[in-house]
Symmetry: C3
Subunit: 429 residues, 3 copies
């Protein structure tokens, strides 16, 4: 029964992808909108194929073979070793174990796609399609599975307890596995690409480049909510054994975290700029979903609101710091929304989670070990991997393309050929 | 099994919200489109938090404590008294009673949000965001739960029988609880706000102000269908014990009612104006969904078509009467579509429903008691509540804001900053 | 359990319709966009009512009465004979047989609507709304049910084995029943309508008329994916007895086929025109879904990728052949995407399917018999039916309407009245 529920929840996950794709393109320029959508679709597509072909082998699943390394006197399960091309998964059986395995493949396929879509938001308006495809393959085939194995596949982070008498690292809905990994890659990509032409003046002042379609951005938020409820529920059932009543809590918490995140961003932007900022409010909504997913089935509704409010507040400040202080041009706010709020969500597991065993301090420590791994190992790995790819296939469009927009430059046609658009504001000539 | 089905149906309800939000903004002006979407998202968000915090306590659920008042020799269950902040709901159990309770909270949270979104459609292009948030909190925290308790929480309308030997008032999918309540608030808000600038000339002639994006409106109709199928199914299972096969009927009936409503509006507008009106056809589709939801699991497919056709026809005339005769400016047609078609749906329960006991006349009478309560008690209450709020926080944007559009006025940025729009048609200068 | 899963999958099918509607309008002109959406909604609506009223009787279901004809010494089950107006379906029972029957009605209702929407894509920008409604009724009431009965209702194609010792014709997700039937009607309609004004110059050169909103087209692809996963899963369970684990395979395969189709189109258009074509890539995605649906629950993930890649490649060439060589103006590519890729999918059943009995040659032969029936009987029938309707109600808008656009001509108002559009490119004056 729970596994049927899990399957149906997985079927909703593409709506999270659909919502994020709408948000990404809507926060970018109209001259790059078709490119942004096609890049999202291609990232999903490549990730699905590459994850099924090789990524799933490395991600593995509880009970599958794995590679282990001995260090400090104990064995560290660091890499899955399931078959390539889903060879160990059979779809014609009726046993629950086989069904779980198939569901793990299915969920992983969509999760890898979500992770691969996140960096697109940071690279909007200047990241070329070819490198996007290669980077998605790298993420879905090698880097995402690594961390997914450590957390969801029975790897060393999940088993901190076995080696250290600590509780395991917990990430019920993928705040770390999907969001922080994707957001960290967004940071790596934004560093490599540099800002859009015209984003920063010579004296370092940032120009606001508003998103070209806020209606789609906010519609995407509601669509993404449905996908997120599916994602959080499915992962909670599959990796943490959540029951049906707990899943009701997951659905309620997802809505409340998103609500808290959005309203916090509305209130803060209104207080600071006298008018609420619609784009940041949308980012607050998604930040609430991101942060709430880590502890989705183990916190009360009140805690879910708190987690969302803090995520929404955090993101409004973090986006400003990245844009103005650090001069990292992240058009969709992916770094703050996915990596920033995701890390907060992982900490919130330790602060708010109901655990049946272990001390709160122990759980908090386990979460910090996971975050340290994300920042200290995954981010450098993502940066190095993308830097290497960028050597061979330059990520950034040339200067003319930046001015023309990605649609004309890379696809040869605009997204809205019949609509009259303001062609050249924001761009120095 | 049925409760798992119910949970998954609930997860589809946000698609109804997503569809309605698209419809609302598409039927308004482009200069207020981002505001319309943000208002929808904020109304959902506030409603969710306030309903979980306090509204659920008043809405209650069958078997929960309640407040009762003695009048006419019998006790009237008039208000729920469950715990605040969902304190009585536990998500870690496995018993069906606890699961039902959690599902009731979850469904109520989304239902309150839907009700709160409906009046936005009547207030499009002139209702400010701050008052929208307060009014949503008032609705979700106090007024919606009142009527929801009476119908779905075991209150006096559901128990007409116990006190009077009458059948209970029946509203399977929320045509009264959600739609008439929301639509009545739309009427109250439209009265308080008055028409948009330029809508009526000095001699009382109405100017047609067409919606700015009909593609989104019609797309929203199809998206809302999925959400509505979820809503009708979930409420039928949870509050009326519908079985799986009945839920199949609910899904079929939702599609047929929407179809009947849409085609009736197409045919009538074509007959009257020589060309079908796309906006009214969309309104007819939603009116079919609204009217069909009251009796969704207790009528045959043929009756569902009839209910939809009458709803669609009703709405085309009703929108005209409100716009031209009563000079109530309701850009999205929310009053007719939600309150009008909703009341028709409640009557249709008595006319078409298959009942296992009671006379048809008795059921019809029970439905009329419910409608009388909506018109005689809920509408005045909604009007008074909003009038009071309007005292402290003026609902209407000032004259400049009406001319500028809500996006620039309240959010400081337009929804489509790169598209060239006709800036000033329809507005007298 | 499986039937509850089936029901929930059916509830997702309207998302396939929503996605296709977005794609159709986005690939057409802005001046016909509202018309395209309203036509999609009306086609769904009419199909639902007509299918429930009469089509279901002819489509029938396994175990229902049917008409049989004796030829060549054996009996051919050629037409269902269930009750009209769903009279044989009861929604208040609890037995699995009654539930299956109700689900068959429900699935058929949506499937007929999908089939009826497909030809709209070929008739975009010139097919009038009245004839669209009549043609949808003809398809959903008579023609679709015929073929659906033969394949899904226990008719002669499903029972090839009984009469010939051959395996039965297999179409798990409707690649033939829905897609080829709909796409063939698209071809018939495109023939009858002729090309749009300005599409071909006097010397036969084709003018490219790009879609007016590629963002919506690509967003529609992701939304359609969810609906397709529901459709393939529901039909596999209901007509081919697929179990839960097989349905996980269906979901994975749908994603992989779509991915393969999209990436193949990206790669091929890039290789041929130096830049990937976003519209053709979207068509490749849908072609992958179409082709993959035939064998959805009986192939491995690797085969699903292959099926999708070949479908995507096929469609890029086929669209060009229809547009340039055959001078058939099919704005949305419906003929290639639905009929072309659908036939490939039916063949792929024979090439890639895992069968428990029968030889691969036998299965391939059965699939070819089905395709021959589609091309040799259904296509002429569709052409004749539409030609006849066209006699009485001319399909094509007049020359002025072609220039004005369908929105002004048939609906009296544009889809985007506030946006400034390029009014007259592509149209000779």
């Amino acid at each position: 029964m729970n596994l049927v529920l899990c399957l149906l929840c997985i079927m909703l996950i593409p709506l999270a992808a659909a919502g994020l794709a709408l948000i990404h393109q809507g926060l970018g320029r109209s001259r790059s909108a078709a490119h942004a959508m096609l890049a999202s679709v291609c990232a999903m597509a490549i990730s699905a194929i590459v994850f099924v072909a090789i990524g799933f082998s490395f991600a593995g699943f509880a009970g599958a073979p794995f590679h282990s390394i001995a260090a400090g006197g104990v064995g560290w399960d660091w890499l899955g070793a399931a078959g390539f091309f889903a060879s160990g998964v059979h779809f014609d059986g009726v046993d629950p174990v086989g069904l779980s395995k198939a569901l793990t493949l299915c969920l992983g396929m969509f999760a890898a796609g979500l992770a691969a879509m996140i960096p697109l938001s940071a690279g909007t308006d200047r990241w070329r399609l070819g490198p996007i495809c290669l980077a998605s393959a790298l993420l879905a085939g090698l880097i995402y599975p690594l961390f997914a194995h450590w957390v969801w596949g029975g790897g060393w982070l999940a088993q901190l307890g076995t080696n250290f008498g600590m509780p395991g690292f917990v990430d019920m809905g993928g705040a770390g596995v999907i969001q922080v990994v994707g957001g960290s890659m967004g940071l790596a990509v934004a560093w490599i690409l540099g800002p859009r032409r015209g984003k920063y003046s010579d004296d370092g002042m940032a120009t606001a480049i508003p998103g070209h379609n806020i209606v789609q951005v906010l519609f995407g938020c509601v669509v993404a909510l449905v996908g997120w409820m599916g994602l959080d529920s499915a992962a909670s059932i599959l990796f943490y054994g959540a029951g049906v009543t707990q899943v009701v809590g997951v659905v309620i918490n997802a809505m409340l975290s998103a609500s808290g995140g959005c309203l916090a961003a509305v209130a803060i932007t209104r207080a600071r700029y006298r008018k609420p900022d619609a784009s940041l409010s949308a980012n607050g909504w998604i930040a609430g979903l991101v942060a709430g997913s880590a502890a989705c089935a183990m916190v009360s509704p009140v805690a879910a609101i708190d987690i969302g409010v803090i995520a929404g507040a955090l993101v409004t400040y973090m986006i400003e710091i990245f844009e103005l202080k650090l001069q990292v041009d992240d058009p969709g706010g992916a770094i703050s929304v996915h990596a920033g709020a995701g890390m907060w969500g992982l900490i919130a597991v330790g602060l708010f989670g109901h655990f049946s065993d272990g001390t709160r301090g122990g759980h908090l420590l386990a979460q910090l070990v996971g975050i340290a791994t994300l920042l200290g190992f995954m981010l450098p790995l993502l940066y190095a991997g993308n830097l290497l790819l960028n050597r061979f296939v330059p990520y950034r469009v040339d200067n003319d393309g930046d001015w023309q927009g990605m649609d004309i430059r890379e696809l040869g046609a605009g997204a809205y050929p019949e609509f009259v658009v303001h062609a050249d504001e924001f761009v120095p000539r």
